[in-house]
Symmetry: C2
């Protein structure tokens, strides 16, 4: 029975070869580096992992590749949402069969303006289709990308209807009041999708974070998390750094910028490979983000 | 070499069994009925066909089912867009291999706020990946659902970069000025996605229509189209009816309403089966849409 996840989770980037196939070796190295340097868990194949730019088969192959490389699936929360609930069901069952601790699940996201009843019915189909007592769903609320918000009312309904299955949520909306509303659901594990909201939600009873910035500053996220959860203290230096990192990466196209920073840190320009509709940063933006990141005064852990 | 499509195209509904698998027999009958009663072509597996609620394999099986049932692929314009360009490439190649006259292609639609260069790069990948001189792409502009608008500037760029491949567009934005802008691109076939815009765009040089309402009033769409293209006349009665149908169906959840009207017309309640996040109409809405449709005073062709 998977435990409820908590702590610092990176929204793991997906490194690619020049032909834009996933580079599973580099990705496994990246996952290990994240776990070795402060991550409690791995949000593989979320938005930062470009999940929706891969086919269902590619997504399954990536997760299998991580499992075969020895990345502990007990620390993995792969994104398994898709436009079609049938694909979400297949991906979620596959992740559960591989032993993933949890799955991060977007609602079907092509059709907009759908009813809460319709979204509820889709999750009902997915849960029925997976049919496993090991299933743990973390709802993925990212209305800016999905265009299909998960209302607080709907989240409460799902948590109540599927106890021990719908156990938490990642909230990438940026709306802290929404996150604080979800924190009040008994036993519900809430993860902000941004460092900007991490501390406030943690102090209110949040479970941790699942963030893009944790690909870079996982050590500092862990310092902040540990100081608060073990000593009730705010690590001001860690907080300054993680908010600084967030401010820098959100001032540029987020995922190309993260990949550019990893390319520099690793010395491997292939880190910048990215699937369209995303594009690598242009030279000017790359130089700018490097300079802005350096101004934070934070050294990423060595590779 | 497929000819450029024109005339009246239904955005074909996808009938389903109770378990929400596609009912290929009923769908083939529906396609034949549409062609026998005024449709020049079939927009299979667009938004109205709930394409994004099916897996890639299901979408391929549906198109193959229509081909095996004798539906002429020379009149088919299947929707092949997906969230991931690799899926779009696979679906588009499959449709071309089956002999589809054209393909209706959404941009990758999960990531929002992407650049025109990024969308261009995705179409470049798709066209290169399909690699067929029989490929004809009709761009699908439906920003209310995709969240990824195809700007007029980008459409012009794609048409210029891929002559004889990017040959037209379906515009479901409802923005007639955008459609009239696309009509000015030399040789570009523009299809409004609504009866409300059909006549105005046709008069400006549009190629026809691809509409949900054509599932019900294809005869009247054809009367309007023929009167204008052969005699330069406006068939006022046909125009009154198709705009009336559009007004009725757009006052309720569009696809559940269309399916309810087909259920009544055919006497088969299974017509109302629909995949979540869409839901069948409730009893009150069903009664209302039936009454509103009857007030138009239009008899659908017999089955």
């Amino acid at each position: 029975m998977p435990e409820i996840m908590k702590g610092v989770n990176a929204a793991v980037l997906t490194p690619m070869n020049k032909d834009l196939t996933p580079d599973l070796g580099r990705m496994a190295d990246h996952c290990r580096w994240l776990l070795d340097n402060g991550c409690d868990g791995l949000g593989i194949l979320g938005t930062s992992g470009e999940a929706q730019s891969f086919s269902v088969r590619e997504r399954m192959a990536i997760l299998e590749g991580m499992e075969k490389a020895g990345i502990p699936m007990s620390k993995a929360m792969p994104g398994t949402g898709a436009a079609a609930y049938v694909d979400t069901t297949e991906l979620t069952r596959h992740a559960v069969d591989l032993g993933a601790s949890g799955t991060l699940v977007l609602p079907p996201f092509y059709l907009k303006g759908v009813s809460d009843d319709g979204i509820f019915a889709a999750f009902d189909k997915i849960i029925e289709g997976v049919g496993s007592s090991d299933l743990r769903i973390y709802l993925y609320h990212f209305p800016q990308m999905s265009g299909v918000p998960l209302s607080l009312d709907l989240v409460e309904r799902l948590a109540a209807a599927f106890p021990n299955i719908v156990v938490g949520a990642k909230d990438s909306s940026g709306d802290v009041s929404n996150m604080l509303g979800m924190v009040k659901i008994p036993g519900f594990a809430v993860f902000p999708g941004s460092e900007a909201a991490f501390l406030e939600v943690l102090q209110a009873g949040g479970a941790g974070c699942i963030t893009a910035g944790s690909n870079l500053c996982m050590e500092m996220c862990q310092r902040l998390y540990t100081a608060w959860t073990t000593r009730g203290e705010v690590d001001e230096e860690a907080q300054r750094i993680i908010v600084g990192v967030r401010n820098v990466i959100s001032s540029y196209p987020l995922w190309p910028g993260l990949k550019a920073l990893m390319a520099r840190h690793s010395g491997h320009s292939d880190w910048e490979n990215i699937r369209p509709t995303l594009m690598p940063l242009d030279d000017a933006s790359r130089a700018e983000i490097y300079a802005a990141f350096d101004e934070i005064g934070y050294e990423m852990p060595s590779l």
